[in-house]
């Protein structure tokens, strides 16, 4: 009995001494590296989300969903931000780690403003290809959020000659056509865009005095997703975005060190307890 007790004490002190050397275990943790690009053109003002506690505007909803994603990606993941308008994607932030830089990422995301748009037209294919080039340069997967609504309507898209990419093309908005609010520079509602507001020579729409309606153009977005290798889904809830972004096959692995001291401490504790009680 004495020998056993003595042995347990020796083991206990062995664990304590081992813990003093700060041993760690290297684990491969799944992390993600995304470039998130948000469409900031006029049609993103359309209000067709109806979820309690979340904004109804497409742009604001997309931003709220992205914020959830930033908060819910595992530590070590990195997120870059960009905006899309006209034919181009502009990078705002190079990828930053989500836990340490969450406040900055969230501020930058909230600062995304439709007034930063430098033109009112949008050519989604060009913007998407531009974003794909940027993502490739940053070695990140792309998350491109747009409602697919394109003005002026173009009969065909440019060809895609890049490498097939990984990531998501996220459709923002609903299937039912809704009017697009027309805002002044302070963000106050002036009315709704009318077909007659469009300049005469560019649109292919019949000229009638009626509201310009916008809906999520899924067909076009699916097509673009197909030719670029991205996957398409329609944004319904922030949780669904988080779930899709955390899909294991999009993860990269990051070696992380797991601290072994708590376990050594606990082993020492139970060994000592056993030595005292037997």
């Amino acid at each position: 009995m004495k020998k056993l007790r003595l042995g347990l004490w020796v083991v206990t002190l062995g664990f304590v001494t081992a813990a003093l050397f700060h041993p760690t275990w290297v684990l491969l943790q799944p992390v993600y590296r995304y470039l998130m690009v948000v469409d900031i053109t006029q049609s993103m003002h359309a209000r067709d989300y109806h979820l309690l506690g979340l904004p109804s505007e497409r742009l604001a909803f997309a931003k709220a969903a992205l914020e959830q994603a930033i908060l819910n990606l595992p530590c070590g993941s990195q997120i870059g931000l960009g905006i899309f308008t006209h034919k181009d994607t502009e990078l705002l932030l190079e990828p930053l780690e989500v836990c340490q830089h969450a406040p900055s990422l969230r501020t930058a995301l909230r600062n995304i403003d439709w007034r930063s748009a430098w033109a009112a037209d949008s050519f989604i294919a060009y913007g998407l290809f531009d974003a794909l080039r940027a993502a490739e340069g940053l070695q990140a997967d792309l998350v491109f959020l747009t409602d697919g609504d394109q003005f002026p309507k173009t009969p065909s898209d440019p060809g895609f000659f890049g490498r097939p990419a990984r990531g998501w093309l996220v459709g923002v908005g609903g299937m039912r056509p809704v009017p697009i609010p027309k805002l002044d520079f302070e963000g106050r509602l002036l009315g709704y865009w009318q077909i007659t507001d469009l300049s005469r020579d560019r649109d292919l729409l019949p000229r009638r005095a009626e509201l310009l309606l916008s809906r999520l153009d899924e067909t076009h977005l699916r097509q673009l997703a197909n030719i670029t290798g991205l996957e398409y889904f329609q944004l319904m809830t922030p949780q669904q975005l988080v779930q899709n972004l955390r899909r294991p096959d999009l993860a990269k692995t990051l070696p992380t060190e797991v601290d072994l001291r708590p376990w050594l401490g606990a082993l020492a504790f139970f060994a000592a307890l056993a030595a005292m009680l037997i």
């Binding site: 004490w9 304590v16 813990a19 990078l91 705002l92 932030l93 708590p262 401490g265």
Partner: protein, 329 residues
């Protein structure tokens, strides 16, 4: 007062188990033939009390160390030299050219935008105490980050400007947005707008008045780093010919900036070297007292815990070694 945190607080639920040495069933029972021979009750003698206290302390020590306590990172107010700087950076398409005005020079010259980006990042790294904000502008401005101490985020924002620029150099909205960054912030140090652009643009008279008012109200100093093409007009040595606002907007912009009523300097940079020099000058200019917060990193306490446990454990081990199970006469 430093705050203590635990990296793995769940282990602390084991803490009640540390009282086990005091509970009756932890007492060892020895068959002993003649109690009358014993002089005292073993559990009340001082070595026994000390042993119990030691065991209890040892167990508690182990659990607390296993939960990895640390002193939380602290922010300490210090007074240093520095400034609040909003980097207002031109990201128009002309910034893609190199300093000789060509897109791709014969020799590997970097573009104006890349040179500015590289030097600004070095500048940010050298100024740990300053708060930085980033506003980028071309045709339309965008505020990427308000004033923040998160240097890595600022560097990521400046780094993002390495992508191809687009659009025109539209200075007024960019300046207005940079000024907005200071509004409502406490005036705790010198405020600087560091405008990096490769050209000017005409500003409407009424916008000029509004900007001047804001510069004065918010007490913001302006430094303009003008990245000049060799063929472009020089602001410091204007040509003698008659100038118009369309052919040489930079000169008119310079004249307007001089009427702002706040400290203003212009730096002309014709190559990366003079750009570096201009940034170095700004650095020496803006060194006024500035209260700032230094973040002390978190300090791990568990090595101390395990060390204490070891110190307590060695006597306990020797105690166990001294135990006599049976008298052997």
């Amino acid at each position: 007062m430093p705050e203590i945190g635990f990296a793995h607080p769940l282990w602390l639920f084991l803490l009640p188990l540390a009282t086990l040495p005091y509970l009756p069933f932890a007492r060892r029972q020895l068959p002993y033939p003649a109690l009358a021979v014993l002089t005292g009750i073993a559990s009340t003698t001082w070595p026994e009390k000390l042993h119990k206290a030691c065991s209890c302390a040892f167990l508690s020590c182990l659990i607390v160390s296993a939960s990895c306590p640390f002193v939380k990172e602290q922010k300490v107010a210090r007074l240093g030299q520095g400034a609040h700087i909003v980097l207002t950076i031109d990201h128009s398409s002309s910034m893609n050219e190199n300093f000789s005005g060509r897109y791709f020079g014969g020799s590997a010259h970097e573009t104006k935008s890349a040179a500015a980006r590289r030097l600004l990042i070095e500048f940010i790294r050298r100024r740990p105490k300053d708060l930085f904000g980033v506003v980028a502008f071309s045709t339309a401005p965008r505020q990427v980050l308000p004033l923040t101490a998160d240097k890595e985020a600022i560097i990521a924002a400046v780094g993002a400007l390495g992508m191809r620029g687009r659009g025109l150099t539209n200075i007024a909205p960019g300046l207005a947005m940079a000024l907005e960054t200071f509004r409502g912030q406490p005036l705790t140090g010198s405020r600087v707008i560091l405008l990096v652009s490769d050209g000017g643009a005409r500003i409407d008279p009424d916008v000029q008045d509004r900007l001047r008012q804001d510069f004065q109200d918010l007490a913001v100093n302006l430094y303009w780093v003008y990245l000049r093409n060799p063929s472009g007009v020089s602001v410091l040595n204007p040509p003698k010919r008659r100038l118009s606002e369309t052919s040489a907007p930079e000169i008119f912009l310079h004249q307007y900036f001089q009427t702002l009523g706040v400290p203003y300097r212009v730096f002309e940079a014709e190559n990366p070297q003079s750009l570096a020099q201009a940034i170095a000058t700004v650095e020496t200019l803006e060194n006024r007292p500035l209260p700032y917060f230094e973040t002390l990193p978190r300090r791990d306490l568990s090595p101390y815990g395990f060390g204490l446990a070891l110190i307590l454990g060695v006597p306990l081990l020797s105690w166990a070694a001294l135990e006599i199970e049976r008298w052997l006469a």
